[in-house]
Subunit: 195 residues, 2 copies
Amino acid sequence: MTATRQQERSDATRARLMAATVDCLVERGWSGTTTTVVAQRAGVSRGAQLHHYPTREELVLAAVAHLGAARFADARQRAAALGPGRTAAVLDMLADLHTGPLFRAMLELWVAARTDDALRAAVVPLEAEVGRETHRLTVELLGADESRPGVRAAIQQTLDLVRGLGVSGLLSDDSVRRRHVLADWAEHLDTRLEA
Amino acid sequence: MTATRQQERSDATRARLMAATVDCLVERGWSGTTTTVVAQRAGVSRGAQLHHYPTREELVLAAVAHLGAARFADARQRAAALGPGRTAAVLDMLADLHTGPLFRAMLELWVAARTDDALRAAVVPLEAEVGRETHRLTVELLGADESRPGVRAAIQQTLDLVRGLGVSGLLSDDSVRRRHVLADWAEHLDTRLEA
């Protein structure tokens, strides 16, 4: 096998492990996401899995970081095509991010890390990085100028709001209420960004 | 033992079980909150525990409902003493509710219920009830008139915002940022409640 071929196989194995890990976190939660279950689901041998990700923590953190990068790239691509009514569309995208697999997988980690010191040490830097990246993305997509008074606070409130909406939609369909809340927020946010 | 005496002992047993259950949820999470651990912590026999709360779900749901009632009563009492700058003080109280034991215990249940159908069936009505009660409390404490345009949306945004802040503060001390975010929101909220 050539070096290139080997690299391709290695990349494919990692990609399968990443996808299987996120699926597991979303469907079974942190407690159900063991390395054995993930390896089976990905169709990857235990040996190969351990070679790429020696511990459960490394596997899960890599999977969530990988998903985050993919979702952020996707959001930037979708945003490039947005026309007028941009603020409402950006809020919809943020709400999608916070009701989808990325938020649910991260919430599993945050809640598990609350009562697990080893996991917490690994999750805190990832949470900070995803938080910063989400903030940057939001500023960019909204074309917000944070040097103007009140704009940074408005962006932070927007992100805490969608985070809260993510929690509100965990157990039941909250989409109708969410749409109303965000439509109203879009109007006020436009005023605050332009003020 | 007289009937009154027996009732008093029974009430005391239940109170100890409620307190131990919440402590367990906050310290060890849902997976660490077993009936055995709670009975030991409360200093209550397994028989007495099973008599009052036959299942783990009943025990945990009763404990969270009980804590919610206590916290809401406490918030109403504190609010009665508030003078000017009421909105900011009410937001602080809501933030306290969403960074304290009630929110953390409920979040454990929500996240566990996401991947556990039996628990979900029990938690959904409790979540709805606590949500309604929190909304009612907020309207009451802010003296908000929801028949006026935009006021209901502003109250809902306030509650989603503090819920998001609760999640943001799970793993690290977010209190400085939270204070800034809420101070700014208090101004906007005042404008919207009076508009």
